[in-house]
């Protein structure tokens, strides 16, 4: 290695240090600590039974854990899929010219800039029983009283949670897919049309395979967030059994601080489940990519 090459290498290392230190010290360290605590290592609480699998045992042994896990995954998956469908549709529409497009391009990004908490508050205002929507329906005479409006929030169907996630994440997916669409241009779609492909064939055989990288990365981010998010299911959810992040929060917030270890076991469980699902997702996608000849 020449002196010049060595200098370039050192400069490269220096550029990597900030992200590396965040990853290793803050994230990696916290991960190790969480794992240790979930296995009974918390001498500062006067608890040290390491290695102790009873926290995981009692958690995974209870039936409510599995219900919580199901709810967590259900909200996360349904909202991600809905946001994906809406976001892709919006991105495909935005790529074409239409009157008032500039306004649309500005408006659709608004939810990205509005915090989740505000979105949740908006959902409460609009969708709750006694909310604006129920009053409008009652005013229109479709129901006699706003109280008869079907329960949207605080049910285990999680319509409110899903609505907030979809509202917030549709523009995010639109943004990602739109950028990819701009990159690939319209020519392959036009070529397909001239070759005789109808709209459906063009989308599924030409457009979708090309925007897949954008779809995978954006849904990955949304899904990971939805699995771990706390405030929407806490405020808009159906109560016990809660989603896993809410369960963890309740443990952390309990007067009995020793329950923090149980909370850590919950957090680690969320991490394991999310990790397994995301890696499986990526693995399937990579296999597809290889089949398509991309590396």
């Amino acid at each position: 290695m020449t002196a010049r090459e060595r200098r370039t290498r050192i400069l490269q290392m220096l550029q990597l240090i900030p992200i590396l230190s965040v990853l290793v010290i803050l994230f990696g360290g916290a991960l190790v600590m969480a794992l240790l605590q979930s296995l009974g290592f918390a001498p500062w609480f006067g608890i040290n039974t390491f290695p102790d699998f009873s926290y995981f045992g009692s958690l995974w042994g209870s039936q409510t854990f599995w219900v919580s896990l199901w709810l967590t995954l259900y909200y996360a998956t349904v909202s991600t899929l809905l946001a994906l469908v809406f976001g892709t549709m919006l991105a495909l529409a935005l790529i074409k010219a239409f009157p008032g497009k500039w306004l649309y391009k500005y408006l659709y990004k608004l939810p990205l800039m509005i915090p989740y908490t505000v979105g949740i508050a908006l959902a409460v205002i609009m969708l709750s029983s006694g909310g604006v929507l129920s009053r409008i329906v009652a005013f229109a005479g479709l129901i006699d009283d706003p109280g008869q409006f079907p329960q949207i929030l605080k049910t285990h169907y999680g319509w409110g949670i899903i609505a907030v996630y979809v509202w917030k994440q549709t523009p995010f997916i639109t943004l990602a897919v739109y950028a990819v669409l701009l990159g690939i241009g319209r020519e392959t779609e036009e070529a397909a049309a001239i070759l005789g492909a109808r709209r459906g064939a063009i989308f599924f055989r030409v457009t979708l395979p090309q925007i897949l990288p954008g779809i995978v990365s954006s849904t990955l981010i949304c899904f990971a967030f939805n699995v771990g998010a706390f405030e929407a299911p806490f405020i808009l959810g159906g109560g016990f059994p809660d989603t896993l992040p809410v369960v963890a929060w309740r443990y952390f917030n309990d007067a009995d601080y020793t329950l923090q270890l149980q909370g850590m076991a919950t957090v680690v469980s969320i991490g394991i489940v999310a990790g397994v699902i995301l890696f499986a997702y990526l693995w399937v996608y990579r296999r597809y990519e290889r089949r398509m000849g991309r590396h």
Binding site: E187, A193, I194, L195, A197
Partner: protein, 349 residues
């Protein structure tokens, strides 16, 4: 074999008029170039013929049938895009088989035609490659094969030689010519390069600012441009204003020149005189008597390998002379220029 006719076609995007009342007749089996500077509307014209754009006014007829309202998918045309627009996620054979596959052809039929067409474009050994693994020339051949396999009635190409290097251009030009002859398919291509248009086309439609400036054979457009703009675009450099002395002699700043007999002009008419650089003969002496030919001195020399272009000062005017590079004259040499009257072309003006 399809005949194409554009009947006062007009295309407007918002307030911008891309094409203004264009009439164009393309014979069955003909190879036509739409030539013009970028932004002149030639690509828009091609896209309207293909069905990717709808004309704002006027009609497009295939074999006398109005197809203006017909969807792209139903026109049975083929288009080779400038950047080929291959599907990057499909192998060569998947790309080529795409057309017949979406048209619902049987697997056996697709396989048979695929083998046949890959043989024609000499890509059989590359059939499992992806577009990213091909050279520019190979990608273009895939694009051509992908189009031809659908047996289009009209083949369209957007700047077919623009993305290729010099050696490939020659090869591709022959390839396109041969294919066109072999399949006898009506072919329309767009280019901004007059050399490309002349190399390939049976007829060239020169388009300026959305209007047809001239539609003729390459030779006639080159030798007998109808306007100064066309002459300029075809690369003419020696254009001088002059006045007719008689019906076959014209006075210019260079000197008096014999020209072909002008039936519809008379002595005293103002004209523009076009002298093609390669039509001028350059003598290095001993000079003939005064009165025949133009005396001048070489000011500059550009060497192009096969040809040389000299810039000659002549009566305080400059004139370009191109000749074969069999001899080389030097800057400062005195020369005498002659041009046969039939090589002189006069434009009004």
């Amino acid at each position: 074999m399809t005949q194409v006719r554009l009947n006062s076609v007009r295309k407007q995007f918002g307030n911008f008029v891309a094409i203004e009342n264009l009439d164009l007749d393309i014979c069955s089996g003909e190879l036509v170039a739409l030539l013009g500077p970028s932004g002149c509307g030639k690509t828009t014209t091609l896209r309207m013929i293909s069905g990717l754009e709808r004309p704002s006014n006027g009609a497009i007829l295939f074999d006398g049938k109005d197809v203006s309202e017909q969807a792209v998918q139903d026109r049975n045309v083929g288009m080779v895009f400038q950047r080929f627009a291959l599907f990057p996620h499909m192998t060569v054979e998947k790309n080529v088989a795409f057309g017949p596959s979406v048209r619902g052809e049987s697997k056996a039929e697709i396989a048979r035609r695929l083998d046949e067409i890959l043989e024609v474009v000499q890509l059989t050994q590359f059939r499992t490659r992806f577009p990213a693994q091909l050279s520019g020339g190979q990608m273009q051949r895939v694009a051509v094969a992908r189009t031809l396999i659908t047996k289009p009635s009209i083949l369209m190409m957007d700047e077919p030689l623009a993305n290729l290097d010099t050696k490939l251009r020659v090869e591709m030009r022959r390839f396109i010519r041969d294919l066109q002859q072999q399949f006898g398919i009506t072919t329309i291509f767009v280019t901004h390069d007059q050399v490309e248009a002349m190399e390939l086309a049976d007829r060239v439609a020169v388009i300026f600012d959305g209007q047809l400036a001239q539609y003729d054979t390459p030779e006639r457009i080159y030798r007998y441009p109808r306007s100064l703009d066309v002459a300029d675009f075809m690369g003419a450099t020696n254009i001088y204003s002059g006045k007719l002395l008689s019906r076959n002699r014209v006075r210019t700043a260079l000197g008096d020149i014999d020209c072909p007999h002008q039936n519809d002009r008379s002595a005293g008419d103002a004209v523009q005189v076009l002298l093609r650089a390669e039509a001028l003969d350059m003598n290095i002496g001993p000079f003939k008597s005064a009165g025949s030919g133009l005396r001048g001195r070489i000011m500059a020399r550009d060497f192009f390998g096969a040809s040389v272009t000299y810039r000659v000062a002549c009566n305080e005017q400059e004139i370009d002379v191109t000749e074969n590079a069999r001899r080389m004259l030097d800057v400062g040499d005195d020369v005498q220029l002659e041009i046969a009257p039939e090589q002189v072309w006069l434009l009004s003006g």
